[in-house]
């Protein structure tokens, strides 16, 4: 199993969610997040005083998938989240040792 994590622009969430659903992903977890990449943040002005806001709003999507689907799903997320502008985010995957469905106690791929 793999855990795919995507940190993306909040307004791309719906596209990513729909793309994952149409592939057949049954569940995902979304968290509000904030952070910055190479572009850093943006500047805000209050009565002439300028503030650099480093941390910009993002959403973090996490989804557990079969090893076989991981690469394709990552491509799907990237395609759906991409705007081509700076700050589009990152997607990565890590191996997961075990997963358990809490309701039934099923383990491994059956728990997905």
């Amino acid at each position: 199993m793999k855990l795919i994590t995507a940190v993306i622009k909040p307004y791309r969430l719906d596209e990513v969610k729909e793309a994952l659903q149409s592939f057949g992903v049954h569940g995902l977890t979304v968290t509000e997040a904030s952070g910055y990449g190479r572009q850093r943040g943006h500047t805000e002005v209050y009565r002439g005083a300028e503030y650099t806001v480093d941390l910009v709003p993002k959403v973090r999507i996490e989804v557990l998938v079969d090893d076989a689907d991981a690469a394709e799903l990552m491509d799907i997320v990237v395609k759906a989240a991409r705007t081509g502008k700076i700050g589009d985010g990152k997607v990565w995957s890590v191996s997961v040792d075990e997963a358990v469905r809490v309701r039934t106690g099923e383990r491994g791929p059956d728990a997905l």
Partner: protein
Amino acid sequence: MPPGIMTLAADKAALSPANTGFMLICTALVMLMTPALAFFYGGMVRVKSVLNMLMMSFISLGIVTVLWVLYGFGLAFGQDNGGFLGWSGDFAGLGGIGLTELWGTTTIPVYVFAVFQLMFAVITPALISGALADRVKFTAWALFIALWATVVYFPVAHWVWAEGGWLFDLGVIDFAGGTAVHINAGAAALGVILVVGKRIGFQKDPMRPHSLPLVMLGAGLLWFGWFGFNAGSWLNNDDGVGAVAFVNTQVATAAAMLGWLAYEKLRHGSFTTLGAASGAVAGLVAITPACGAVSPLGAIAVGVVAGVLCAMAVGLKYRFGYDDSLDVVGVHLVGGIAGSLLVGLFATGGVQSDAKGFFYGGGLEQLGKQAVGVVCVLLYSLVVSFVLAKIIDLAMGFRVSEDEEVAGVDQAAHAETAYDFGGTGGGAVARPGAGAGAAGGAGPARGDGPAPAKRQGTAPASGKEPASGKASASGEGKKVDA
């Protein structure tokens, strides 16, 4: 403001129901300005001290109202003593005033005039509080309000507005409070912050406004209430002067908003919400002394000048390194000076009085009088406020402790926090009966908000400064430039 004579004459026939009703409505409008100011200021501070900011304005409604009844009205508008202070035994406790006794030459009862002026006395000290955001003891502030109203506001109101007051007799024009309210409060703010000092992290940490919608709401309500402030200051509705004041209030405020925004766009690249709200307030401040003396075109000039000037002035605190948190000096002192002096240039001589400004053939005489009023009120308020603040600082300490300031004055002074972002009660546990009485009957019903950590002893770790999870409220920003 028309002169009042101190001999009261019961003359029921002359009492005007229309003027009396008009003035009561204006009075209620002016009352609204203090809570409006509280929101205007409250939105500009950080999450951890918004309640304290609201309370610092709101408490003035309590303290000054009581003082006004006891002796404030007497000191400000009683029989003159040498031009400096008034006193009339009948005014003490508002006790010796008949229901239908009229104020001076007006057609409104003394009670109506007294309560209208009360609202001015309430908002003026509240204006000062914006300079002291986030860092002063509430008790010290409350004591300051009481002393400042007594020693500064009541006498200065007498100088400017009461018959026999020395600036009134000199011919200084202050229709509704350019000197008595705004220069007075702005200079006081400067005096107090020289004693109190900067917020921890000033010019280092991000201190962005936590809610610009609140700022806009406050500014909008201030604008609305200001019609009562200015149009009501003529004390009648018989000759159209109040209507001119009303028109000028609208016109100058609009022009000042545009002036501030234009400056901001040229200088910083954006039309900001805070700029629009601040520009409007700057215009309201500047037109206050002038709205009975200038034409609507003059009001546009007053507004634009005030808008641009105040927008430039708010940067001064960074240059000089004093922490006027919410720009009371930049907006109220500078705006008040601008409006008061511009009367000397733009007074048409055909509205409130015959006095003409420089551009209307009056020479420099009125400008000179205005300058005397500006300088004298500024210096008096600055010096006395500094001394009062120093006395309070020595006696009880004006500032909260460092850890209380960092954690937020809301918890330290009020045992409350403003927002529950998490929907989980901030980790608070309701403890029926705990602190009942002392904490105002804390019971099960309070379980829907953060528990006051100090009193209930269940310090919620997350209650210090609730993080919203969004960029707007957390401390991720870094101030890079002034």
